[in-house]
């Protein structure tokens, strides 16, 4: 039903999105907590920085990544020398680009949900003998799960659709960084590729709808479970 090329693009897209979102989750929760519950000097600036990818042109962000993480960039050179990891032209690079682009959506959703958690419940937990870390893990985090789930979904879908930063930073390498949007773009560059492009577009739509429906179902189950 699907051509080998389509399967390659689809599985690569999923792999990139899963890795990007998976690796963003822990820092996403930490930063959401910082923004929701802490006051520190420069918080507004930090907040702006986290949300920067939302307003920056993806190509510009891809270029910034290239400068930082490219072979000769400060971080890229270090990664290459010490861990022999190269991000450019690799699916890891695509995952990094996708992760950076999707990060604000993840943080925003978790943060809003965390701000909605009744702090009086946290106080109650402390009077019952729980230290702050335990309160966070047993009260705050479970009550934030609907927001975490929503954030994960938004970020995941954003990763699937990532184009500009990926093509700028990780390039368009078949089987390595050519995700669905990049494959679609490539098909359009070839004369007579409209049929392939249409199939890829439908594939993207199907994927996005599946993700949305699944996450809504999960969110409902979860809300029921945590008694909200």
């Amino acid at each position: 039903m699907l051509s080998p090329l389509e399967i390659a693009a689809l599985s690569l897209s999923l792999k990139v999105a899963v890795w990007a979102v998976g690796c963003s989750l822990a820092p996403g929760i930490a930063i959401a907590w910082l923004l929701a519950r802490r006051d520190f000097p420069g918080k507004a600036l930090f907040d702006g920085l986290v949300h920067l990818p939302l307003v920056l042109p993806p190509v510009a962000l891809g270029y910034l990544l290239l400068v930082l993480f490219g072979r000769n960039g400060p971080v890229g050179a270090w990664l290459h020398d010490w861990f022999d990891i190269s991000l450019v032209f690799s699916w890891r690079g695509a995952a990094l680009a996708a992760a950076v682009m999707a990060f604000p959506l993840l943080v925003r959703s978790i943060r809003l949900s965390m701000e909605a958690v009744d702090r009086r419940l946290e106080t109650a937990a402390r009077t019952l003998g729980a230290r702050p870390l335990r309160v966070f893990l047993t009260i705050t985090l479970p009550l934030t799960t609907p927001g975490i789930l929503t954030g994960l979904l938004l970020a995941f879908v954003r990763c699937l659709g990532e184009f500009g930063a990926t093509i700028t930073f990780a390039a368009n390498v078949p089987g390595e960084t050519r995700t669905l949007p990049l494959a679609l773009y490539t098909a359009l560059q070839v004369p007579g590729g409209e049929a392939d492009a249409t199939r890829l577009a439908f594939l993207s739509v199907a994927l996005a709808i599946t993700a949305l429906v699944a996450s809504q179902y999960l969110a409902r189950q979860l809300s029921k479970r945590i008694g909200l």
């Binding site: 009744d118 009086r120 419940l121 106080t123 109650a124 937990a125 402390r126 009077t127 019952l128 003998g129 729980a130 230290r131 335990r134 047993t138 009260i139 479970p142 009550l143 479970r225 945590i226 008694g227 909200l228």
Partner: protein
């Protein structure tokens, strides 16, 4: 048991309080804004006093001079909030055992089943907080606090969000805590009826400071506190014990310092301590021992104080072995020449002290 001496500034509000509380139930009473909740929040470690000292059962929880300020979780004080604050993502059982798992080793655990029995929680264990009624929620919140094995239980107007019938449904459970578990309680309320029913000691607060403290019956008898305590239907509190049951006439005899008091039958075991409130308007005075009347309870005593009042009535404080209030008309007071020092007979109608007078709802 509890020793406290604190000063604090919260915005423009200044709080200064010092008291010692013995084991039992200590009520913090006062109008809203008096600083009651701030005070127990400081006890619990949720609010930081500017200076002072808090000692509970010999453990220093706060001492500004020594730089001691234990975190709330290290203070081991149970806290029952006005809005039960149950964890919505946990079942009732999960809520109950939340603090239980955190009891430090070496501290005696509180028996789960005993608390479940005491508060009648067994049918609720698998339910979610959202599905509980207000009264049930408060019972679970009390159980949850108890199971964390606290040194002292703090209750901040735990009945304030409940309607009348729910209130009287929970009061017996709170009474049971003290009697059956022997835990000391600091009980914040602005409802005198709850306090009379539950508390042994009373601390009256106003505008951030303590204006009076002592045994409940003593404080409620003080005329100078009427402006504060008198929002509630004036009356005296008698500390009694069930002495006998008269099945034939369906009466119960209570003994107290002033003698014996006959009331319509109460289904209580002999020896049960009972604090009752006798409203001033249910007490009349006579100069000579009355004969040929239907009133069962007559007590001889001496007038201690005659109140000042703008209306047609005055409140008279009579010592019948313990303080008793009588509300009479000014005309009677003048004609009988009721002045401090005079010997009188106080008449209490047995039917006047009904179950409603036992501290539940004012009518």
């Amino acid at each position: 048991m509890l020793e406290l001496d604190l000063t604090a500034r919260i915005g423009n509000f200044r709080l200064k309080a010092a008291f010692r509380a013995e084991a039992g139930v200590t009520a913090l009473f006062g109008p809203s804004g008096a600083g009651k909740t701030s005070l127990i929040n400081m006890l619990a470690g949720l609010l930081r006093p500017s200076q002072g000292r808090i000692v509970v059962q010999g453990h220093v929880l706060f001492d500004s001079k020594q730089g001691i300020d234990l975190a709330p979780e290290a203070r081991r004080l149970g806290y029952v909030f006005q809005e039960s604050r149950l964890f919505p993502h946990l079942t009732v059982a999960g809520n109950l055992s939340y603090g239980r798992r955190l009891v430090p080793k070496g501290r005696t655990q509180v028996d789960f089943d005993a608390v479940v029995d005491l508060l009648a929680l067994a049918p609720l264990l698998t339910r979610r907080p959202r599905t509980l009624s207000g009264g049930e929620r408060q019972r679970v919140a009390i159980g949850r606090a108890l199971l964390a094995a606290p040194r002292l239980l703090l209750m901040d107007e735990p009945l304030a969000n409940l309607d009348g019938p729910r209130r009287s449904e929970i009061l017996p459970f709170i009474e049971g805590l003290q009697r059956q578990l022997g835990i000391s309680i600091v009980y914040v309320s602005h409802n005198m009826d709850e306090i009379v029913r539950l508390a042994d000691q009373l601390i009256v607060m106003a505008d951030g400071s303590i204006v009076a403290q002592g045994p409940v019956d003593e404080i409620t008898a003080r005329l100078d506190l009427r402006a504060l305590t008198g929002r509630w239907d004036a009356g005296a509190v008698l500390t009694t014990e069930v002495a006998a049951q008269d099945q034939r006439d369906a009466l119960t005899r209570l003994s107290f310092q002033g003698g014996d008091l006959w009331l319509p039958q109460l289904s209580l075991a002999i020896g049960t301590p009972l604090r009752i409130r006798v409203r001033a308007r249910d007490v009349s005075l006579a100069l000579t021992p009355p004969r040929g009347i239907s009133i069962l309870n007559v007590f001889a005593g001496q007038v201690i104080e005659v109140g000042e009042d703008d209306g047609p009535q005055v409140d008279v404080l009579v010592d019948i072995g313990c303080p008793l209030w009588a509300r009479i008309t000014k005309r009677s007071q003048r004609e009988l020449d009721i002045v401090p020092g005079r010997m009188v007979h106080a008449l209490i109608k047995a039917m006047a002290v009904d179950r409603r007078g036992l501290g539940s709802e004012p009518d």
